[in-house]
Symmetry: C2
Subunit: 495 residues, 2 copies
């Protein structure tokens, strides 16, 4: 745990016996939190996980927000087959090279060997665009802007819950346009949607940028991405948007009659985010007591824990707790009232802290008399009384304060762990010790990129759209070979 996080609010949360502290072993901490908070569990199928109700509820919140954003930007949902004929993958040369090694292959169906093996979709460009070719005739059919919510399979050797699993859930947007200008705009618009989603909902600050040739999507002209920093100062890619140019249009013969009556290939984009983002939220905000969920996405935003001694108190306090629960629900707050009798309040406190519920309201006999509750913030541990009559106003305000607070905390953490670096030695030293976002000059050659990666395990996360505010330089010299470099790029180890 860094000083920044330790001295901030996060340090005040009690440690959980079920969870390895972050500064002892960050990787074990992550796995403990995911398992103990019951977001997910290992399954008997190698590399696949079970998303438990609390994890799936979180995904549903995320899905609903993203789905609304996609609709507002003119996209419609559809559903394409899980299986892709093996030959389809081969039609785009880079694409097959990138994905073939990761594929799960169905060779038998209905008790018989198949004539052509079927690949379980590792992404759906090929199957979708074979249909686009059928549907698109004229410029009047454009733009075609579809999105699909689906499961995806990519064979992985080393898996981690949510972050890297053989099967995962995602959305994939696929669009076709008349001009490259239009498809580039779409591509950047959707990157902006992802950035807004990450920052405004997940409370995770991101850097927008372009991937290097080496890191781009197999088959794209350009891949844009948003990159986030986790609490171990490593990077996590939180969304990508691909300018596919006419690569797939040529491979799948997706043509249209343009406004001049000429047949032309469409310009395409694809973009996606996955259940991986759940892992990002856990790693960006969690502490040694468990999850810390951003209020806008938390399936349960507030839990009311009644405190009583004896049956007389119990009846009164429980009744009041339910009344206040209804007040909050009516105010649009996702509220749970924990009336379980077999558990003591202290156990319930830990339970809901582990689950990451943003705000806990404690209600005892004396609060009842005083006409108030005690509100405890999950992020900072701060407590404050709220008068019953203020609840419907004050609780939504507090939830917004928490939302902003954890975003600001994550932003400050990233700033503290971002370095302007002008020598390869300094980069090596950072990657050997703490990791972090290293803004350094790079000449653009694959050789220098690979040298850094093989020697330090750091990759180029992106070529950022905006330089660091404190970097006024612009051009410079590649930290590896010394040749001229147009701008700094961001190096870090990544998930």
């Amino acid at each position: 745990m860094t000083a920044a996080k330790g001295q901030g609010g996060k340090g005040s949360a009690k440690k959980s016996k079920l969870i390895t502290p972050r500064d002892e072993d960050y990787n074990r901490w992550y796995t403990d939190v995911v398992l103990q908070s019951e977001l997910a569990d290992y399954s008997p199928v190698k590399g696949c996980m079970v998303i438990r109700p609390d994890g799936y509820g979180l995904w549903e919140q995320m899905r609903d927000v993203l789905d609304r954003m996609f609709r507002e930007t003119g996209h419609r949902n559809a559903y394409f087959p899980l299986f892709i004929p093996e030959g389809f993958l081969k039609k785009e040369a880079e694409h097959v090279e990138g994905f073939a090694p990761e594929c799960a292959v169905v060779t038998h169906g209905g008790g018989k060997k198949l004539e052509e093996p079927l690949v379980v979709r590792p992404t759906s460009e090929t199957i979708m665009y074979s249909m686009f070719a059928k549907w698109i005739m004229s410029y009047r059919d454009l733009p075609l802007k579809l999105n699909q919510w689906a499961n995806i399979v990519r064979w992985e050797m080393r898996t981690r819950l949510f972050l890297r699993t053989t099967e995962f859930l995602w959305q994939e947007g696929h669009t076709a346009h008349e001009t490259h200008e239009e498809s580039e705009t779409e591509c950047l618009d959707m990157l902006e949607v992802y950035a807004r989603f990450a920052e405004d909902y997940m409370a995770v600050p991101v850097i927008k940028g372009t991937k290097s040739e080496k890191e781009k999507f197999a088959g794209a002209l350009v891949t844009y991405c948003v990159e986030a920093m986790m609490q171990d100062r490593r990077a996590l890619q939180a969304g990508t948007s691909h300018d596919l140019g006419q690569n797939f249009a040529r491979a799948f013969d997706v043509k249209f009659q343009d406004r001049e009556g000429t047949m032309a290939h469409v310009w395409q984009t694809s973009w996606g985010v996955s259940t991986r983002l759940i892992g990002a939220m856990v790693m960006a905000h969690g502490d040694d007591a468990g999850l810390v969920l951003p209020p806008r996405l938390a399936p349960t935003q507030v839990v009311i824990v009644p405190i009583w001694r004896g049956d007389d108190q119990k009846a009164l306090v429980a009744e009041k707790a339910e009344t206040l629960g209804r007040v909050l629900t009516d105010a649009g707050v996702r509220t749970e009232v924990d009336l379980r009798e077999q558990y003591k309040p202290g156990y319930k406190f830990s339970h809901w802290e582990l689950k990451g519920v943003p705000l806990r309201l404690e209600l005892g006999p004396r609060d009842l008399e005083a006409g108030q509750v005690f509100a405890a913030r999950r992020d900072s541990g701060e407590k404050q009384p709220i008068a019953d009559g203020d609840l419907a106003v004050r609780v939504p305000e507090l939830l917004e304060e928490i939302q902003q607070g954890i975003f600001q905390s994550a932003l400050a953490y990233r700033e503290e762990n971002t370095h302007l670096v002008d020598s390869y030695d300094e980069l090596k030293q950072i990657m050997d010790s703490t990791c972090g976002f290293v803004h350094a000059h790079w000449c653009g050659s694959a050789a220098c990129e690979e040298k850094v990666q093989s020697e330090t395990k750091a990759s180029i996360r992106c070529i950022p759209f905006e330089p660091l505010a404190r970097d006024g330089e612009g051009e410079g010299a590649c930290i590896v070979c010394g040749k001229s470099s147009p701008c700094r790029v961001i190096f870090d180890k990544a998930y």
Copy 2:
């Protein structure tokens, strides 16, 4: 087309040139409607279809209603792996026998042959219950009531869009309980949810009943079902709910410590409906002009078609159309305003009829002056003026009238095509000519059931919970062997 449907409202819809009339070829009519209305399309993968935006939008409406019903009855969503180790399927003897012949099998992953092949889930009992065994310790963990929205693969030789495809989308509920009484109640409660959904939302009347041993789910003690009649008088199973007893609990060792401290196997249920229901809606309500969607599920409930001559009229009419569109949207009505300039009103009328939008509002210059619109019902073709000021009240009322109207029409059709039959010859004659629901006595033997099926292609759709009102008899004699029969069962050819 039967007399009943022909003389009713449906006859008034214009024929579409794109669609084969029902009385010419019902099967081609169905396929034409699904393709031309753009609900779905054939894919390049044998047996798999593409669900296009209009079809997927319909599924989303259905999913949202069902999801709310499941939550209200205490279920939570989760997600389990797509892949199932082949060995799991074999743990329940009947189950593997039922499903193994339909499985798609993954034999290679990541470029290597797998040690144990993986089956693409044909249903998720086995993978889910292996996890239940891990999660359930004591009666305090019960009941466990989960639901999953997922894609399913069952290898099919002869496929039909929505009705029978190799891959389909569905929900599968899976629950575990302390006692058989409790699991039976769950099973029947969920059947009731399906019946309510079919009748109140899909506007498709259903008969609740029990499947014969031959027709029950592979691995269940008892399968309950809801059965609907299509417009060719054949039956379509619109949902099943399985009392699994302790069969899977024993196979997967799902045990709990009961209230007496003894270890016992849980009692389980599973239940599901699929995208097949979209096919049922098409076949139950559609006519020769295309889809007829029930208002409660129609993604677009109302379309406003402005009618103009010349640019002056256009500006005025278009503006008013948009204003009225906002009025309806604010009143909670899912409304589209069709302002497309390249199409004439007549084309737009046919277009939205084909798409099954329940109500069309026509707005011309004279309507503008009169302060009204002309409303045309999709189901009956009836037209009536509605004053602008009444729109927000009258349109929702009309949508409800349409919802009830198409339900009553489907119910009347079923009643007219339901027969009380006391001889095998009469059953044969009905199956040779019109088909229909034949309520006849059956001794309960598999031999008689199979004889009927092999000779007439009619199967026992269910043993209904309630006898036909006009059947006062109770016991009787099996129409095949003459032995005693406790009640009538329903025979029909089925999808």
